[in-house]
Amino acid sequence: MSRPQRSPASRLLGMLLGDVPRGRALLALSVLLSGCASGASVALMGVAGWLLSRAAEMPPVLYLEAAAVGVRFFGISRGVFRYADRLVSHDLALRMQSALRMRVYRRLSGTTLLGRRHGDLLVRVTADVEAVLDLVVRVVVPACAASLVIVGTTVLLGRFSVGSAAVLLGSALLAGVVLPWLTQRVSRAADATMTPLRGELADRTRELAMMAPDLVALGAEGPALHRVLEVDSRLRTAERRAARVRGLASGGQVLAAGVAVIGALLIGGQAVASGQMGGRILAVLVLTPLALHEVFSEFTSAAQTFTRATGALDRVVEVLDAPPVGSGDSVKAHVDGVHVLAADPPGLHLADLTVGWPGHPPVLAGLDLDLAAGQKVAVVGPSGIGKTTLAATVMGLIPAVGGTVETTGRVRYLAQHAHVFATSIAENVRIGDRDATDPEVVSALLHAGLEMSPDRIVGEDGATLSGGEAQRLALARVLVDHLPADLPEPQPPLLILDEPTEHLDSETSAQLMDNLWASAAGSAMLVITHDPEVMARCDRIWRIG
């Protein structure tokens, strides 16, 4: 527990063990069980060697019974211990994985993601989190258990022959520390060359998949295929280099076992010849390291997994350690009922506003705007100028750098590509208002022009919806409102639309805008767009940048 030098991944593991009830005890239990399982097969060979040697002295059979029982016991217990070890370690690892997911989710949900290039980050973190399972089940538990077995065996053999125990420990260090360390260094170097190549391969594949129609139409299939295969061959060269060294390590493993066995034979043989040691111990001394060979190999595979898993977890730690930006959740999406009713009509007032990402230079300055209920303004400017940052500031997701933002009532946001969750249509709509009743959901869908059963389950990432349908679903989310029966109708929210038609064909987009304009007549709207047809529908155009 050297505090100052702990790696991010091991710090994370310690934290997660703390998150799981009795985490450390479970870890100790699974190491113990795993050690017993490996130990059983070593003990089986040792005791069997003793049994045979003792039998060769032809004692009364009674003297062999105890050893025979021992052999049978170890024969049965190995499987039992292994089964128990697997269950305990997997349960612990899964609990730790859940704990990590909770931590990651809590952290990311509290930091504003809108307007940042986050797609890659979120997908990567989702996959990286799973490395915890590998690290616990394939690295920590087996490596600790193997060390336990090796130390235990060394101590036991040391009582018979210090010399051969020393050789055993030496070869174990070679096989368990030096070789894995070497393998790990090499595979880390290999990973360092391979990771960018994999990224390159993914990029080129994506490019090819995205522009396949263009490539085929242009007759450029051949060069495109070559672009992908060229990266593949570079990747293959790097992999070959890594495999060569892995092969050397596994050969080294066998040699280490050989050293231990031959050492035991030489030292034990001398001891027997000089009368320092009983003849029947020789078989024990030689056969035990032979059985340990299997335990050695755990280290090499653990080292390989270690590199990959810690790499992934280091990236997760980076996400967890990053200081939060903004508020995460918009606080203006829902205002409590009384306030909504008492609120002035939806509106927006910007005065000398400067916006920018916290910790970065401001992107837009001196913004002034007054927007009253029912007014629609198109926000136009070159891409990358900071329009989405402006939207995030208006929603209160990030603080204004300077000047004032005042909004009245609620603020809702329609993105160019809203996520469709893998659940029913109705639940997807209720993201907009949790309390919406079934008829209210149906009415929102109707206003959005989506004729679809609210009970229909939409697949992963909305795979069963077309682009137009997904956008209509997102619109229904923006339009849905829960109206308590005994209260008057609330004021409509201020709407911010961010390139609402970017991915739609012009006809679908026209229909969508028709629906939106009809359903949100009373709303003030801030419409970020490039689309001249959308601009034409707005009351005025606000050019920024």
Partner: protein, 592 residues
């Protein structure tokens, strides 16, 4: 339990066969070395035990050292050979996957993310299969037999114990597997759904945040995580049973052999040397079988990856334009240029395998309620290409004629099949019925090479033009690789791209170019093909984002002046007015 190797893997990657043969040879050598090792150890121990002298010990140790060195070499060779086999197969599958994609460029059932995952990390599962599972499978077939024969020559009882227990291992594992298969499959589905919840929340986190709902999901996440864990543990308790049976049988048999020979030695029925020889060999007999069991998951992962790859590749097997086998040997037919010959589409009908996935727009409203009640998620995960006759056609019985130099506009509602018609004409889709003829040459049943020849006559601007990473100039050169910088500049200027620098860098997903700029580059690319490369027909699909169409009208005029024909999808009055003829597609659903 020895999962059979998918014959398609062997068939597809013939180049791996030498590696597999070499692996088998290494397996035999390993078995012989293990035998030598056991014999030498038994000999040395029993001799020292009997004589209490170290005569000859040095020589035996030297021989043992040689044997261990030999085993080190075989273990290195095994690792290296299996890696080479895996690399060979992976490269070949990558190439095949990419080619499959290119043979069905508009196929939406294989998303680009599926393809990327498969090509980058998915196929890596084959490493586990080749590097871990396959060598053990080879060893498991060779080593036990060789060693059991050696033991049998020394002692019959021991070999009987081994001969009885070894076959029991796969039998028990198969029994357990068979008994639990249905329950496992069911649990696996539940587990997958629960496990995906986190991914779903993460992908939708931004959406949740703008509605102020992100933090509220924590409780739900905690619940699904708990449910996911207990479901997974329930699955594991069963799936670990088979490896439990394997470990138990293997170790228990060694114990039985040890005790049996122990009592035989005590009774004088066997000498120590033979007994030690058998004891050392016994675990080695079971080791490869146990390893196969332990690596079974690697095999299952690898097989699943191969399966997924084959599904994509085999979909690409039937190239557009008719069966590959029947006519691929035929010489590609010369296809006349649309500048000289009329292009005829006759009675084209096309149905998408899944009506909900038609590109370009809203699905058939008539089809949606019927599909709504069925578990839609299942449809998404198993994209079978079963074309139901009840699926309304995306295009039904379209006939049109484009004469040389003529401009024909296609109009109609979204979902009426305009883009589908273009896809058929370009050979991206094979129509269910109908014919495509150019100057008397029937393209419908033509081999892929003829389609390639036909596409050289075309310049195409899709709804969402694709851009590759590189400069604007690189992207323009795709249209006509021999173009000079001056020609590129001129084409781009005339397509409204005066403010775009040729050396402007285009990033992934056309990052750096706006939708309008992308359109202009694609137009310029098409213009180059018509002007410089002799393409005879410009095919222009309507852009997704509304752009000013003044430049496009200018380009259309340029193209017509060159005598090339134009087929344009649009519903803009300006474009329709300029066309020689307007063909309005009826909504396909209404027709059915």
């Amino acid at each position: 339990m020895a999962g059979p190797i998918d014959p398609r893997l062997l068939h597809r990657a013939r180049a791996t066969v030498p590696f597999l043969v070499a692996l088998c040879v290494t397996g035999v050598v390993t078995a012989v070395l293990v035998l030598c090792q056991a014999w030498l150890l038994a000999r040395a121990i029993s001799s020292v035990f009997a004589t209490h002298r170290t005569d000859g010990l040095g020589r035996w140790c030297l021989l043992l050292g040689t044997v261990f060195a030999g085993r080190a070499v075989t273990s290195w060779a095994t690792e290296w050979l299996s890696h080479r086999a895996a690399a060979q197969v992976k490269s070949q599958l990558r190439g095949d996957l990419v080619s499959a994609r290119l043979s069905h460029p508009t196929d939406a059932t294989v998303t680009s993310s599926t393809l990327i995952t498969l090509i980058t990390t998915g196929l890596d599962a084959l490493d586990g299969f080749y590097a871990k599972y396959l060598p053990q499978l080879v060893l498991a077939c060779i080593v036990p037999v060789v060693l059991a024969v050696a033991i049998g020559l020394q002692d019959l009882t021991s070999v009987i114990i081994i001969a009885v227990t070894i076959p029991l291992i796969p039998v028990f594992m198969a029994l357990i597997g068979w008994r639990t298969e249905a329950a496992m499959a069911r649990r696996f589905r539940v587990q997958t759904r629960l496990a995906n919840h986190f991914a779903d929340l993460m992908t939708g986190l931004v959406t949740l945040q703008v509605f102020g709902r992100a933090r509220a999901q924590l409780e739900g996440l905690r619940r699904t995580e708990g449910a996911n864990r207990s479901e997974t543990m329930r699955t594991l308790r069963v799936s670990f049973l088979s490896s439990f049976a394997l470990e138990l049988l293997a170790t228990l048999s060694v114990a039985l052999v040890a005790v049996t020979i122990g009592f035989r030695v005590a009774g004088g029925g066997m000498d120590l040397r033979t007994a030690l020889f058998i004891l050392i060999l016994a675990p080695e007999v079971y080791l490869p079988v146990r390893e196969v069991g332990a690596r079974y998951h690697d095999s299952a992962d690898g097989m699943a990856a191969a399966e997924a790859a084959f599904a994509v590749i085999e979909r690409g097997r039937t190239p557009v334009g008719g069966p590959a086998g029947s006519s691929s040997a035929a010489r590609p037919t010369e296809v006349p240029s649309p500048r000289e010959a009329p292009v005829l589409l006759e009675g084209l009908t096309y149905r998408y395998p899944d009506a909900r996935r038609s590109p370009g727009g809203t699905p058939a409203s008539g089809g949606a309620p019927a599909a709504g009640r069925t578990p839609a998620a299942g449809g998404a995960s198993s994209p079978d290409r079963v074309v139901s006759p009840h699926t309304p056609p995306a295009l039904s019985g379209l006939s049109l004629r484009v004469d040389p130099g003529e401009t024909v506009a296609l109009a109609g509602h979204s979902g009426s099949g305009k883009t589908t018609a273009l896809d058929c004409l370009l050979g991206f889709l094979t129509p269910e019925s109908g014919r495509i003829q150019v100057g008397g040459v029937d393209l419908t049943a033509a081999p892929p090479a003829s389609w390639a020849a036909w596409r050289r006559r075309l310049a195409y601007v899709p709804q969402n033009p694709g851009m590759m990473r590189g400069s604007v100039a690189d992207n323009l050169l795709l249209g006509y690789p021999a173009a000079t910088d001056a020609q590129l500049r001129d084409a781009l200027d005339r397509c409204g791209g005066t403010r775009l620098a040729l050396d402007k860098e285009v990033d992934d997903d056309a990052e750096g170019l706006s939708a309008g700029e992308r359109r202009r580059v694609a137009l310029a690319r098409a213009l180059l093909r018509v002007e410089q490369d002799g393409a005879g027909m410009l095919i222009l699909d309507e852009p997704t984002a509304g752009l000013d169409d003044a430049t496009e009208s200018t380009v259309l005029a340029t193209v017509r002046a060159l005598g090339a024909s134009v087929l344009v999808v649009s519903h803009r009055p300006q474009v329709l007015q300029d066309a020689d003829r307007v063909i309005t597609l009826e909504s396909a659903q209404v027709a059915s």
